[in-house]
């Protein structure tokens, strides 16, 4: 049961809302937790035990960390100056050890379940290469849905306690709610403890505004997912499944379509997720901020899957770039090559780790590792030439050139993203490389205009309705980019106008959605990660 399906939207969500609404305030948190676990059980069955184990263990480890911190505070109060430093180091070490064990346990579960088979398979390949007479059995595990998401939430919770940003929650129920809120457990957003825990615990009553705003958001998400993403899937599947039959320009177009599909699918699902949260009065963090208006790859990743990017920034990039072992080499480079290169060096080492992890987080396959490292190279090169590009921009500064530059950099960034997504969607890294080779060596624009496009599963009407739907999404994005809220504008209208818009949106989705006979149901892409 994924979020954009009728069982979720027309059965589970309304039933959950109704139960939540009629329940007395004091039992709502318990009820919400039961609903969360019911959802997880429907999706993952007995693998719910993994979530329960993670919740209990992180809760316990958090309390341990907190008790050491409290002990430290008490002891340090009565210590003299000489002893203070020594004691501080001891407690710091204890906390670090607890944090390390906590992260090791949860990252370890994720690593074994998600990457165990990948690791063993590649180890076997490596051993075979050296003719070693060992064949390690490749394990196969059932992966609980959303493990990549809730594990990151668990780690951020522990790290934040360690950094004293938050104190450990003593209320198991509140913490369990944070770990399991059903609209976000499958595909994120990856929430921080401070963002949702108190909202979930307070269990506000459902209001008319929350209902209408939530439903609006869900409808808009369904438009992106069902009308655009699922329709584009027809062409994408046709081309990617049998790319050798197609010319480079068709493959390039399919890569662009896939980039569009991925955005519409993921951001559409996020709209449904955030909308579901809004129905309950829970404000979940945004995961997208008009990413295709970005002028560089670095900027793109501050607008695309924002919560994952910020997680990597806060829990991998910053700790690594500021680690003690980085200080010495950074200082040396600063001394010999200048300040700028020193910063670039330390940032690049951390960036490499971030993008390696980011790639691998998406899946246990080399193509995902390549995807991550591709973005690392682009960002690294972007950082290297940044001073030069800034100088050029300053020199040719004029209103016209500024607009041209914006258009150029936006298109360039989008094209670079499309290349990355080609590898992301390809069946394997080898297929990705072969497809990219075809784009370079076998590019002729004639198939785009000689009617070949219409042989890929989408007819003129399909292309037309996709274009119109994209224009609708683009218009809303443009308004958002200018900090105008369509929903607020709509809320200011009279009831007949508001209802007319809702009916139009509902009928648009029902009529132009790519569902039912003749369409292959499309599974949510990000739920697999």
């Amino acid at each position: 049961m994924s979020y954009c399906t009728s069982p979720y939207l027309f059965l589970f969500l309304p039933a959950a809302l109704l139960l939540y609404h009629i329940a007395p305030q004091r039992i709502r948190p318990i009820l919400l937790l039961v609903i969360n676990y019911c959802f997880f059980w429907i999706v993952s069955g007995s693998l719910l035990t993994y979530l329960l184990f993670s919740t209990l263990s992180v809760y316990g480890i958090g309390l341990c960390l907190s008790s050491v911190q409290k002990k430290q505070e008490l002891i340090l109060k009565v210590c003299n100056k000489e002893e203070k430093h020594h004691r501080k180091m001891i407690y710091k070490k204890q906390q670090r050890m607890i944090l390390f064990l906590g992260i090791l346990l949860h990252a370890g579960i994720l690593l074994v379940l998600k990457y165990g088979a990948f690791f063993c398979f590649n180890l076997n390949v490596f051993l075979n290469f050296f003719h070693a007479p060992i064949d390690i059995p490749v394990p196969s595990f059932l992966l609980p849905v959303g493990i990549s998401f809730y594990t990151l939430q668990a780690i951020s919770y522990l790290a934040d306690i360690y950094r004293k940003k938050i104190s450990a929650d003593t209320n198991l129920l509140r913490f369990a709610l944070y770990m399991s809120f059903f609209p976000q457990i499958m595909e994120g957003p990856i929430c921080r403890y401070t963002e949702t825990s108190s909202q979930l615990w307070n269990c506000k009553r459902i209001t008319y505004q929350n209902l209408t705003f939530g439903i609006q958001r869900i409808l808009f998400g369904m438009l992106k997912k069902v009308v655009i993403a699922d329709r584009l899937n027809i062409v994408i599947k046709t081309v990617f499944d049998d790319y050798s039959q197609y010319n480079g320009s068709i493959i390039a177009l399919a890569a662009m379509f896939y980039t569009c599909q991925l955005y519409m699918e993921f951001s559409g699902t996020m709209d449904v997720v955030i909308g579901s949260g809004e129905l309950f009065g829970i404000k979940l963090p945004e995961n997208f901020r008009q990413p295709f208006f970005s002028k560089s790859i670095s900027e793109f990743w501050t607008r695309w899957h924002i919560t994952l990017g910020s997680w990597f920034r806060d829990y991998i990039f910053y700790p690594l770039s500021m680690a003690k072992f980085m200080k010495h080499p950074t200082a040396l480079i600063r001394k010999y090559l200048g300040n700028n290169y020193g910063i670039i060096f330390s940032a690049s080492i951390a960036l490499f780790c971030v993008w390696f992890c980011n790639g691998l987080w998406h899946g246990a396959e080399w193509k995902y590792v390549f995807f991550g490292l591709y973005h690392f190279v682009l960002i690294f090169l972007g950082n290297l030439i940044k001073p030069l590009s800034l100088r050029i921009t300053e020199k040719i500064h004029s209103p016209l050139s500024s607009i041209a530059m914006t258009i150029f950099t936006t298109i360039r960034t989008t094209l670079l993203v499309c290349i990355g997504e080609l590898f992301f969607r390809a069946s394997s890294l080898t297929d990705g490389l072969l497809m990219f080779k075809k784009i370079i060596t076998d590019a002729s624009f004639s198939p785009l205009f000689d009617g070949s496009l219409l042989g890929l599963g989408m007819d003129r009407n399909d292309f037309g309705i996709t274009a119109i739907s994209l224009m609708i999404v683009l218009s809303v994005s443009l308004l958002k980019e200018r900090h105008l809220s369509v929903r607020t504008i709509l809320a200011d209208q009279r009831l007949p106008v508001r209802w007319a818009v809702y009916y139009a949106l509902i009928l648009y989705i029902i009529l132009f959605g790519a569902y039912g006979d003749g369409y292959i149901p499309v599974d949510p892409i990000y739920a697999d990660f």
């Binding site: 049961m1 399906t5 009728s6 069982p7 027309f10 059965l11 008319y208 007819d459 009407n461 209802w499 809702y502 009916y503 509902i506 009928l507 029902i510 009529l511 132009f512 959605g513 569902y515 039912g516 006979d517 003749g518 149901p521």
Partner: protein
């Protein structure tokens, strides 16, 4: 209190208007005839909609196994009762149920036969919900017709005029021999029927019971789609639901099925030669078990006497090649 009253009133009003819009849309998008040019899907199976009212005695449901194994014209020629194969390729039971409901809008057969391969087709809750919604609001099924709407769709009423000469049967004289080496080896293993499929089977049973219609489960021969675990699975569910089950895969020798000549695609589906054998056996069985009138001399069934040219030609060829 006023706040809640207003909220409930608004919600109900909103939903009623939406329902009205969907109903109007359903009429608009529903094909106005059961022809391809009118936007009808699954033409052969929907040909039943164009049949004369209450003219069908036996309704066959199922997937491609039913379509390729049961020939209503063969049954008519030999036994004189009318039947129709309301089946489509890869049909899950929720679609079967939809066809059943639709067929009964114009027909009142005395026997409904379900080919059991459909019990093992994949089924999803999402598709079931959509199918259920389509029964009441066809816009969910025909929404893609926005591409081909004409002015007629806005003005005309629904009138079905087309009937299938083969009565839903898919004729084929192709021969691709099957390897029947591992076919129907006895086993105690049971292939369970999915709960959702079992639920729809119960619904079909209840639907038939409520109209005093006999309901029979039949499995037609297929080396690729049928095996003993499946047989056991259906035996189990048939016993539980108290339904008669006839597995023709167990008596292929009695039927004289020759896997070298009677299949069109290596045992996946039967061809005309295999279908003839199955139809004749099944006709005999139905005639014995149920009260089915011989209508061959009934002038009201004149159209059935005008057998399709293709059928006559195919039939004659078969008689020459395989004079059983």
């Amino acid at each position: 209190m006023n706040y809640y009253f207003s909220l409930i009133f608004k919600t109900i009003s909103f939903l009623l208007i939406l329902l009205l819009l969907l109903s109007v849309g359903s009429h608009l998008f529903h094909p106005k005839d059961n022809r391809m040019e009118s936007g009808m899907e699954e033409l052969a199976a929907n040909g039943i909609l164009g049949e004369k009212k209450d003219s069908i005695d036996v309704l066959f449901l199922g997937d491609s196994e039913a379509v390729s194994s049961i020939s209503p014209m063969e049954l008519w020629n030999k036994y004189g009762f009318t039947s129709y194969v309301c089946a489509t390729s890869g049909q899950s039971l929720y679609t079967t149920y939809r066809f059943l409901v639709r067929a009964f809008q114009n027909q009142s057969p005395s026997v409904v036969v379900l080919e059991t391969d459909a019990l093992f087709q994949g089924i999803s809750f999402q598709s079931c919900l959509l199918s259920e919604a389509s029964i009441y609001l066809p816009i969910f099924q025909y929404h893609d017709r926005w591409k081909s709407l004409t002015l007629k769709d806005f003005t005309a009423s629904i009138t079905y005029t087309w009937t299938d000469d083969w009565k839903g049967y898919n004729s084929s004289t192709d021969i691709k021999a099957a390897d029947a080496a591992g076919y129907m080896i006895p086993s105690d293993h049971i292939q369970e029927i999915e709960p959702l499929t079992a639920l729809y089977l119960r619904r079909i049973k209840k639907f038939c019971q409520s109209r005093s219609v006999s309901f029979l489960l039949v499995s037609t021969p297929s080396t690729k789609n049928w095996n003993y675990p499946r047989h056991n699975g259906v035996v189990q569910v048939a016993a539980k639901e108290n339904l008669p089950f006839l597995d023709l895969n167990l008596i292929t020798d009695t039927l004289a099925i020759d896997w070298n000549t009677d299949t069109r695609d290596e045992g996946d589906h039967l061809n005309n030669f295999g279908a003839k054998k199955v139809s004749l056996y099944l006709g005999e069985y139905l005639k014995k078990q149920y009260v089915l009138e011989d209508r061959r001399n009934d002038s009201a069934y004149q159209s059935w006497k005008l057998a399709p040219n293709g059928f006559i030609a195919g039939y004659q060829t078969m008689c020459v090649l395989f004079p059983y």
